[in-house]
Amino acid sequence: MPKPKQQRVFLNIPYDKQFERTYLAYVTALSAMGFLPRATLGIGGNRRLDRIASLIESCSYSIHDLSRVQLNRNAPRTPRFNMPFELGLAVAWARANRHHRWLVFESVERRLAKSMSDLDGTDPYIHDGKVRGVMREVCNAFIRPDQPTVPQMMKMYRDLRRSVPKILHDAGTQSLFAARVFSDLCLAAAGLRSKYVRVLPRRTASRRR
């Protein structure tokens, strides 16, 4: 079993065109918080489920966006069950391992109580389906000494969006959900963090005395 890394966060989101802006917002906001986002992008094959489980186990936090509850457009029209299923895996893992924390994000207030009443008593973070909403809710979920502000995150987001065509071109794809594109976006967002977010100097033992 891989050792959980504190910086790693498992990102459980729908991979579709309509979600691209929100996806970029998550990558930006989590990177601004100093996280290293991990996702199931690029995981395939027969043992996919095992690899998803070990990915969750290697992360200290997991973020589950349950805002995609609609039926998709292609026949046969079905809802996406991957996100709630992976949430179930994370909840089970967190019950066995107290170091794992899971958080639920939604775009519509009080919809979770209807779509997944098993989570009654869990307050989801409502991002309203907006980029700024994702930034706001990530700031509501986490606090750190060098806390980035939402305007700083928005600057990072705009720069990241500007870099998307070049990243897609280099990867030879049109999809933001390709494995290589995801890792490039994560690195770019981490670079933007070092550009825009002021890092506080660590207090040394001698200064504390």
Partner: protein, 66 residues
């Protein structure tokens, strides 16, 4: 109980981030240059260029000592 989780860890360095993501060094360098976050790139634009000139720096220095 607070809903906010306090994060105590230090963010990874860019080198370590690239390593964890499995991005080769050259590609990582290209990405960081693209977004202007590599070591070589500083502030850019006309105003930043003006601030780098010797004439501007001397003018600021003389204004400080005046």
């Amino acid at each position: 109980m607070s809903r906010r989780t306090k994060l105590e860890f230090e963010p990874l360095s860019l080198e370590e981030t690239a390593k964890q993501l499995g991005i080769p060094r050259q590609r990582a360098q290209r990405i960081l240059t693209l977004i202007g976050a590599d070591a070589a790139s500083g502030p850019h634009g006309l105003r930043a260029a003006k601030r780098r000139t010797v004439r501007y720096k001397l003018a600021r220095k003389s204004a400080r000592t005046r």
